[in-house]
């Protein structure tokens, strides 16, 4: 069925967008996780989207090909009294940018809603096709 393969396409996008939302949630949750050094600190994660070929040439889904660490530098704050401060008195905080994450979250949520709309439209089209001639 041609129309029902839209469910596969939209389904892959729903999965991908929810993974993106999950990564945003992890980043925001760990925005203030302090650490002694950059190696042990939490690194902000980013998802990489890639086109996924499904069956026919028309159907192009999307998948998360990789979840990568954000290469931007860590935030170091001078807090000598902090229990996790290093020898010089600096504490390392993750390179999470809350503003970027919030924007990313809204974008993911909008894309997710778009996919749900696509599925609802397709569902109503299929239902109308089933009642053809009545």
């Amino acid at each position: 069925m041609a129309l029902s393969s839209i469910f596969d396409v939209a389904g892959t996008a729903l999965t991908a967008q929810s993974k993106r939302l999950n990564v945003v949630a992890s980043n925001l949750a760990n925005a203030d996780s302090a650490s002694t050094s950059a190696d042990t600190a939490y690194h902000a994660k980013q998802v990489i989207f890639q086109t996924l070929n499904l069956g026919s040439s028309a159907d192009k889904g999307v998948k998360v090909s990789a979840v990568v660490d954000d290469p931007s530098p860590m935030h170091t704050v001078y807090e000598p009294n902090h229990p996790l401060a290093n020898a010089e008195g600096y504490v390392t905080y993750p390179n999470v940018n809350p503003v970027e994450e919030m924007v990313n979250m809204i974008s993911a949520s909008r894309s997710y809603q778009n996919e749900v709309d696509v599925m609802n439209t397709t569902k109503s089209l299929l239902q109308k096709t089933l009642t053809l001639g009545q």
Binding site: A13, N114, T121, L125
Partner: protein, 164 residues
């Protein structure tokens, strides 16, 4: 109404197949709205419909053998599983009902997918403009429904003609 039943349905079937194919293409564009480097695609419905309608019914049914991939006939006496009778005479009607895989193959053959020209370029090379895609998606859905309504009307006419 001096046309065959096949002829009556052929036009609507072709249009609906192409509409559902276009719906797939547009859904793929919407799904890839955030994929870097993805190029949005679409096709010209009018010219695709013209191309598809120029294909004779018989050639479409010949394609169906390849698409549905039925059992191989090892003996000449075997009857085919799906009754694809050979069309030895031009007057023969194809015995094989045109099922969806055929419509899909037909749509793929006649619809020439083209890349959309972006109105605003993006840094990641993605050319999906959500406003355009959503508008076209809704537009295509309405046309699909309109086709169904017209076809239903046609079926009702035929039922009225045969039962009165």
């Amino acid at each position: 109404m001096n046309e065959t039943l096949d002829g009556v349905f052929h036009y609507y079937q072709t249009a609906i197949s192409l509409r559902s194919y276009r719906q797939e293409v547009l859904a793929s564009n919407i799904a890839n709205a955030d994929t870097p480097g993805y190029k949005a695609r679409d096709f010209d419905f009018g010219s695709a419909l013209n191309t598809a309608l120029k294909q004779p019914l018989a050639s479409m049914n010949a394609q169906s053998g390849n698409v549905s991939g039925g059992l191989a006939m090892t003996q000449t006496g075997h009857l085919p599983a799906n009754p694809a009778l050979s069309l030895s005479d031009a007057g023969h009607l194809p015995g094989n009902p045109v099922l969806d895989p055929v419509g899909h193959a037909m749509a793929q053959a006649s619809a020439k997918l083209q890349y959309r020209i972006p109105s605003q370029d993006s840094a990641d090379g993605n050319t999906v403009d959500m406003d355009v895609e959503r508008t076209q998606f809704a537009n295509n859905a309405i046309h699909y429904e309109a086709n169904l309504t017209l076809l239903t009307g046609r079926i009702k006419d035929l039922i009225a003609a045969t039962t009165s």
